[in-house]
């Protein structure tokens, strides 16, 4: 089958989840107890909102990830043709990797790879 049929898998997934949820709403009981609808916080009424500015430790990781992920995108086509191109490709990737490696080393030494 061709890749258009990905739509099919998408639809099958939607049908599976949607159908089950729909089915469940028909047969499952429903209660009116308002306490039940509270978000879980170990049995204590929640204080404050969960959606506040939250110190995410992976901001820097996300940036480094971006660099490396783009790199992976470039690497795959290289990997495919590596066999045919030979030495030239190898030298090029050496240069590419040394730049990347230096970047990683720089981030490492700067302490960017530290979860705060």
């Amino acid at each position: 089958m061709s890749s258009e049929s990905l739509i099919l898998f998408f639809i099958v997934g939607v049908i599976l989840v949607g159908g089950a949820v729909l089915f469940s709403t028909f047969i499952a009981p429903s209660s009116k107890n308002p306490v039940k609808f509270e978000p879980y916080e170990c049995g204590i009424a929640t204080s404050g909102n969960a959606w506040i500015q939250f110190n995410v430790g992976y901001y820097l990781f996300a940036i480094i990830y971006l660099i490396f992920d783009v790199e992976t995108v470039f690497l795959f086509p290289w990997g495919v043709v590596m066999k045919e191109v030979g030495l030239q490709a190898f030298v090029e990737i050496l240069i590419f990797f040394s730049v990347l490696g230096l970047g990683l080393l720089y981030a490492w030494k700067k302490g960017a790879l530290k979860w705060v």
């Binding site: 890749s3 997934g13 469940s24 990781f61 992920d69 992976t72 990997g79 590596m82 990737i93 990683l104």
Partner: protein
Amino acid sequence: MSFIYDFSSATQAIDQWLKANLSPTGAFVAELALVGLTILLAYAVIGLYLVYAERKVCAFMQNRVGPNRVGKWGLLQTMADLIKLLMKELIPIRKSDKLLFNVAPYLVIIASFLGIAAIPFAKGLHAIDFNIGVFYIMAVSSIGVIGILLAGWSSNSKYSLIGAMRSGAQVVSYELSVGLALLSVVIFSGSMQLSTIVESQANGWWILKGHLPAMISFVIFLIASTAEINRGPFDLAEAESELTAGFHTEYSGIRFAFFFLAEYMNMFIVAAMAATVFLGGWMPFHLGNLEAFNRVMDFIPPVVWFFGKTIFIIYLIMWFKWTFPRLRIDQLLTLEWKYLLPLNLLNTVVIAFLVLMGWYFK
């Protein structure tokens, strides 16, 4: 010999039969329905029995018997659980983001569906054979994390949010190692098409043909993919001893079941990928020029080979989970950025060198 288990002629025959007997649109629709049903069935069966397998495996490791009441050896236990979860109330959390809260399970399930579409179960038993198969799998596997993030964020629970944040950082990081580990085989085989990669292993699996570097790649792939599917010892997103249930704390009933199911399906996809790329997929085990031995191996159907390898890797992943304590979030990232990634880069260079010099079994 191997042609006797070739499914491509069978699928083509069905295709031709449908086209001959129905109008072109009708044939197309019928084909879609057939494939959809098959996949749905396979998905459900695999998912449910992976849950069962996990329970049994962990039970045996922990000196227990595991489920053994529903059906013979408890085989129907997960079915019973599914029915129970179906009949459970779907609790709408007050002040949650209703739309995203409801959408999140769809995302994780669809991601796993899309993933399973590209896996070659046997020759010809392959829903879609992309020419960029490896790349495609990597791409769809990261859709799931969006579901997890949405689930955590939309439920307006602090535990969920922390779980989701952890999951985000974790998946983002380990994606790299998964990609680089797969790249090593792409370099060896010179193709991203999964069927081609499998074909290229007809005379030996890449993990064996590629010497030590391929093995290192395999190990890194195992570790990184275990982390990417949020399984122990990397299950920080759920971390039941810290965050009670992490990102799906607020989910109940069948919606929770889908997160649960998606986790197991992701495990299956990852294991299937490892089997396909490193262990030769549905290819039988061949040893050099030992004709007799190879012949015997050929008699085992490719589906059995494929599922055997996949189950072996799933067992490994379960074994990890039930042995190790959980990592902490900063250690998790240290492991990726300071150990796996540099090792992986180095390993890729070594592999490129091996390929350049032709120092591997062709």
